[in-house]
Amino acid sequence: MNHTLFWILAGTLLAASVLTVTLRRAASAVASALVATMALAGACVLLDAPWLGATVVVIQGSTVLIAGLAAWFARAPGAAIEPMSWRDIAWGSVLTTALVIELAWMLQRLTPAPFAPVPDDVGWTAGMHTGIVLVPLPALITLLLGVAGVKASRKDL
């Protein structure tokens, strides 16, 4: 394990987490949380857990984006959208470049899936294809919760 890289990622994780909790602007807090997520994923890859790193990117990244969605829905009705400044664009470009570089670095380290190969002559059996079931499960729960929320908001229910 590269010690220097690990400490850089740990420092980034801590600094971005502090910013996530302290920043008042929701968009900046969400951007900081994304940086913290990527730093955590990089640390996982350094710890020889590349699949956990990929899970962190997919699931925790989605969680942070959903939090951004919550901020968007919770904004005051009729509130004007804040225009993007050149400083925002510059920071966004730097962060996006760093995230793309880190994603490429992580993808290079992804080994083949650590699941036992499924024989061709075996059908759907209990305990098999667990990954296929587990991956879309949060998406299905999200969909159901969203539908339940919209249904519950109607007065005729």
Partner: protein, 94 residues
Amino acid sequence: MLPEPTFNSFLTIACVLLALGAGGLAVRRGPTTRLLALTVMSSAAVLVFAGVDRYFGTASARIVAAFVLGLGFVQAAAVVAVILARGTRDTSER
């Protein structure tokens, strides 16, 4: 030269993250910031589980870590559903 990270390093970083998340959860009022504070706390859990796998030679803790991440995702979905429902009700009552 930076020191080699030990298991204690992971525990220390995770403790700081957990304290940050708990502090954010207690102090901040907005739903978004509270959700993000929860995310910070789940990051601490994932870091500890990844460290356990690395330093104790196991491979099962990362599965628990994946479940912790899934739990955070479902919490976020529930919060968005509540916000959506509240927003729709506010609009319909106007």
